[in-house]
């Protein structure tokens, strides 16, 4: 499933948060979006998974215009792991993951064997198969994040959208999650904070600043100290690690702004 975003502009409270952004995700490709806080990454992703409507531009899913596709139809092929927010109600882990089957089920249909197996295998994939009977609220933040991923997997997506999926995870599970997502062979579009991880897993990177895409391409080509200086306003050194062969980003300590007294 290919995603293609063409010249979209998104406004929130009369302010343009995403300005004239175009990007593409091809089948099997892991595409990352990096950029500082407030650069519009989340808003862009929310627009793609249809929580927000763009004021301009089009989003095409396998060539079909998303705005004419019913929400229930696009949800059959697009899974989302968003930044986690607290719930007022509790579900068992099993029911939580089963909710991922929602777009594929008709009214009144019960959960059949296929649904059951998809849920079990999703739980197994995120390493949480022993947790089915637990209450979702009793899990740690990282475990909850993995359950949300399992829910997206049970949705059998052909395109997965991740909004900082590694937020609550320890380093082991960060690596596992990204490896798992990459191994699915479907299109993945993910906002990421960690530049080294982004360089490690992404086939293609888009760099956002103040609502614009300022650079895009394979990580090795575009990730430079100058770009990071420009986008994040920090100094760093980017090297290829001799042992792993991966790009690593080493940051210089930043200077704090002097506090002006009496201001």
């Amino acid at each position: 499933m290919d995603l293609s975003v063409e010249n979209i502009r998104v406004q929130l409270q009369h302010q343009s948060i995403v300005k004239d952004v175009s990007l593409a995700v091809k089948k099997g490709e892991f595409v990352g979006i990096i950029g500082p806080n407030g650069s519009g990454k989340s808003t862009l992703l929310k627009t793609i998974y249809r929580l927000i409507k763009p004021v301009e531009g089009t989003i095409l899913l396998s060539g079909k215009n998303l705005s004419t596709l019913p929400l229930s139809e696009s949800a059959k092929s697009v899974g989302v792991v968003s930044q986690f927010n607290a719930l007022n109600f509790d579900f068992t882990v099993f029911d939580m993951v089963m909710a991922g089957r929602t777009p594929h089920k008709r009214a009144l249909s019960t959960n059949d064997r296929q649904d059951y197996e998809l849920v079990c295998s999703a739980l197994r994939q995120v390493g949480m198969e022993q947790y089915g009977d637990r209450n979702f609220s009793s899990l740690s933040g990282g475990e909850q994040q993995r359950i949300i991923l399992a829910r997206a997997l049970a949705q059998q997506p052909k395109l997965l959208i991740l909004d900082e999926p590694t937020n609550h995870l320890d380093i082991k599970h960060q690596l596992q999650l990204l490896a798992l997502v990459k191994s699915l062979g479907i299109g993945v579009l993910s906002a990421l904070h960690d530049l080294s991880l982004a360089a490690m897993y992404c086939d293609h990177l888009y760099v956002m600043k103040e609502g614009h895409i300022v650079a895009s391409g394979p990580p090795r080509k575009i990730l430079t100290a100058a770009l990071i200086r420009d986008v994040y306003e920090i100094d760093c050194e980017i090297q290829e690690n001799a042992a792993t062969g991966m790009l690593t980003v080493c940051y210089y300590p930043t200077q704090l702004m002097p506090v002006v007294k009496g201001a």
Partner: protein, 366 residues
């Protein structure tokens, strides 16, 4: 303790679990039937159970068991068939309707404290109904006028509360409860004002009816319409339990799962306003049912609506049947407004829910 929530040990266990749940539902339905039969034989006027069931069998199946006409008095037939039975059926209809409303509203606004009474929807319906009755010179009159008035009032209250608590933006539990308080105060004051202004001799008594509820006005012909609408709503929401589950997960997750939450929320609020309006128009404000029942049931079966909805409906009906029995037999002299009974049970329950840490006060709801 028997585990009634979904288990994931094996698919067979899941099926077994589902069978157990259906058995339990059947059991609850049986208890409901028994409750109706017991409740029908209880009341201020003593009628022997055997006579009661004679009358019931005679009326239901037109069976002449041992010459009914000479064995039972026509007055007793009147009491059983035209007073008690409609009243119990109305308790059933109102109880299941209010419990359904509470469950659906809680999912629609992702807030465990949503309830037609607490959010002032009932007060709005009551204002609409009193307005329609006492100013009855316009539009359709009679039960239709009252029902339409109550529905309009409920809708206005729902709109006000949603607007005040900022649904669509971020709404907190506190904001929503405060908005409900405002709606309650405002609409109740208006109803009282209208009743006094109308200078009706029964004014004060009808205030008691509209604010504390009573099932005494139940008649066969006023039952049919609310009964039908609530039955259809039950079927509708049972068919859409997956959507309600998705709504409970919050707006983002619902959207990601292909559920258009703002559209469904609007739909659901419209339907709950209709149900609340009909219930209030026929039996006044009966508080807390929509709060207590879903909470109790969620405690037993979890938040999955495929279980929550049917059980809430049945237990809501049971609850109001027995609350009405208490209202009828507690005082030897006469009867209590049923709203007093539900409030006596509901208010402490509300307190308990507030104190329980699981309610996200201060946190953003949803």
């Amino acid at each position: 303790m028997i585990h009634l929530q979904s288990r994931q040990n094996s698919y067979a266990a899941l099926l077994q679990n589902r069978r157990n749940f259906f058995l339990l539902l059947a059991g609850l339905l049986l208890i409901l039937l028994l409750s109706v039969l017991i409740a029908v034989s209880l009341g201020t006027i003593q009628i022997a159970p055997i006579e009661t069931y004679h009358i019931m069998v005679y009326k239901l199946f037109q069976l002449d068991i041992g010459n009914v006409a000479t064995q039972v008095s026509p007055a007793h037939i009147e009491i059983i068939w035209n007073i008690r039975l409609p009243r119990i059926l109305l308790a059933m209809i109102a109880g299941s309707g209010l419990a359904l409303c509470g469950t659906v509203m809680q999912a629609s606004v992702q807030n465990p404290l949503a309830d037609p009474y607490i959010l002032g929807i009932s007060a709005g319906a009551s204002l609409g109904a009193t307005f329609a009755i006492l100013m009855g010179s316009f539009g359709p009159t009679g039960i239709w006028g009252t029902a339409i008035g109550a529905f309009t009032g409920a809708l206005a209250a729902a709109g006000l509360v949603m607007a005040l608590s900022g649904i669509g933006g971020k709404s907190s539990t506190i904001k929503m409860i405060l908005a409900g308080m405002i709606a309650n105060a405002l609409f109740s004051a208006f109803s009282g004002f209208i009743i006094y202004l109308a200078n009706n001799a029964d004014g004060i008594r009808s205030i008691a009816f509209w604010t504390m509820g009573s099932l005494a006005a139940a008649k066969w012909k006023t039952l049919a319409f609310p009964g039908l609408v609530i039955l259809m709503s039950c079927v509708y929401f049972m068919a859409n339990t997956r959507k309600l589950n998705a709504m409970l997960l919050g707006e983002e997750a619902a959207t990601a799962l292909g559920v258009d939450s703002s559209k469904i929320r609007r739909n659901n609020m419209l339907m709950t306003a209709l149900i609340t309006g009909l219930v209030v128009a026929t039996c006044g404000i009966i508080g807390f049912v929509g709060l207590i029942i879903p909470h109790l049931v969620r405690g037993m079966f979890g938040s999955d609506h495929s279980r929550l909805i049917p059980t809430s409906i049945i237990i809501g009906a049971l609850f109001l049947i027995w609350a009405d029995v208490l209202a009828r037999i507690l005082l030897p002299s006469g009867e209590l407004p049923i709203g007093i009974i539900t409030a006596l049970i509901g208010a402490p329950f509300f307190m308990y829910v507030l104190l329980k840490s699981s309610v996200g006060f201060g946190r953003v709801g949803g």
